[in-house]
Amino acid sequence: MSILEQVNERLSSLAAEARRSLVRILSGRAWRQGSGSGTIWHSDGLIVTNAHVVERSALRVVLHDGRELAAELIAADKHLDLAALRIEASGLPTVVLGNSKQLRVGSWVFALGFPYGVDSGLTGGVVIGSGADLPEMPANGREWLALSLHLRPGHSGGMLLDAAGKLIGINTLITGPDVGFAIPVHVVKRFLKAQLGVTEAPSRTARPDSVVIL
């Protein structure tokens, strides 16, 4: 097999594996529906997404196997643009967490989500840079991964994975057609710990003052 065929083979199998942990997030009712992506963080029903994906009520989550479940918003931070949802399910497939602190510039990454609602849309590229001092972003201390790939509306809240298929970020925004930004997974870990006390296992007792119920 040529190197390109091997790359294709490997990428498609990593994508097939990872998309089992990708969920579609629906919100709103009737004519005012929204949709975005989410990432299964824990097999017992903890899902991570962007805060801007879950701004409406009547949240539902569609799993890879087609099940549609009601979701409860248990934490949100608009400044970080992160949110956590809970669904009544167990034994969900999760992805291995990668190291977003030591990402090498130029390394290969790919993103999954529901761009314009398309099922498990994938886009690939490389890490342009990372940190809190990127040229296009305001210097407000927020950390980002700048990516040379094609994120589109609907990719928000979906997974960013490295060449080994490990989760390294949550797709969050774009500054142009060719440049996307993701929140590094270490920021997500910090968010979950601060909001829910979650380290590895999810907790049902969220701190009341940090919980936003829409």
Binding site: G106, A164, D178, V179
Partner: protein, 297 residues
């Protein structure tokens, strides 16, 4: 099966790190800084359009140090500027794009902030200078689909074996352009030597025109340059060129487009008297014209 995707990813990152030590930040404009690439010990090449001022220029080194740099010279036509500063960074391996092929993977590197940044793409086209807007003098332009992240101008475009193919300049119409090493070498050497790019000057306005079959049969070319204007006191006027003349040959070189004439007016013909073959009143004539020097801003 070895994990080829991981290997590819590691190699891309390793290439980036390998050449990143030769890519610097260039602070020479009001907005965002841009990038520059080490040409030689103490010499940085960058894009002319990011050097908005002649003084108060700084470069940022990979180790975080910031140095004052001097503008050696600039060439707006090829969008190249050369800076000098006291540094000792590795000189990357520059290669001419003749070795490059359409479809090959390339990385664009830049350093608009402190850290190295990279984007990946493929070579979309290798264009000759003929297809460029008139007056732009480069041997070839490399077109790629790498994303030109803000501040990437002046940074290196590198091949899969870590050679520098050229420096990246602004994207137009969604494609990214790279000034190839061959052009950079020519321009940088001239700038280091003279501080400017010398070009010959005739002082004619001319456009391509189809020749009559009789003339074509006689001279073996289908097009010539119709002289539409002659600048007062210009070398052309002093040499006797008149409006309405058709220029056929300049210094033994056939002229079929204004670009041919621009290419012919290189620095080596300045102050020399060269033969220009023209058609006037249906007859061939040869004028002797002493080429002047084109004054750039």
């Amino acid at each position: 099966m070895p994990d080829v995707l991981q290997n590819l990813s590691d190699e891309l990152a390793a290439l980036t790190e390998q050449v990143s030590v030769s890519v610097v930040r260039v602070e020479a404009r009001r907005r965002l800084p841009a990038s520059g690439t080490v040409w030689d010990k103490g010499v940085v090449v960058t894009a002319n359009h990011v050097v908005e001022r002649d003084d108060d220029i700084h470069i940022g080194l990979p180790d975080g140090n910031r140095l004052s740099a001097k503008l050696v010279g600039r060439d707006p036509l090829s969008d190249i500027a050369v800076l000098r500063a006291e540094f000792d960074l590795p000189v990357p391996l520059w290669t001419t794009p003749e070795t490059a092929r359409v479809g090959q993977l390339v990385l664009a590197l830049g350093r608009p902030s402190r850290h190295i940044m990279a984007t990946l793409g493929v070579i979309s086209a290798l264009e000759t200078g003929d297809q460029l807007p008139r007056g732009i003098q480069v041997d070839h332009f490399l077109q790629t689909d790498v994303v030109m992240y803000p501040g990437f101008s002046g940074g290196a475009l590198i091949s899969a074996n870590g050679r520098v193919l050229g420096i990246n300049t602004s994207a137009m119409r969604g494609i990214s352009l790279t000034i190839p090493t061959s052009t950079i070498r020519r321009v940088v050497e001239a700038l280091l030597k003279h501080g400017k790019i010398q070009r010959g000057y005739l002082g004619v306005g001319a456009q391509a025109i189809k020749l009559s079959p009789a003339i074509t049969a006689k001279v073996g070319q289908s097009y010539g340059l119709l002289v539409a204007s002659v600048e007062p006191d210009s070398p052309a006027e002093q040499g006797g060129v008149l409006i309405g003349d058709i220029l056929l040959r300049f210094n033994e070189m056939a002229l079929s487009s204004p670009e041919d004439l621009l290419r012919g007016l290189q620095s080596d013909c300045i102050s020399k008297t060269v033969p220009i073959v023209i058609v006037r009143g249906g007859e061939l004539q040869t004028l002797q014209v002493t080429v002047g020097e084109r004054l750039m801003r």
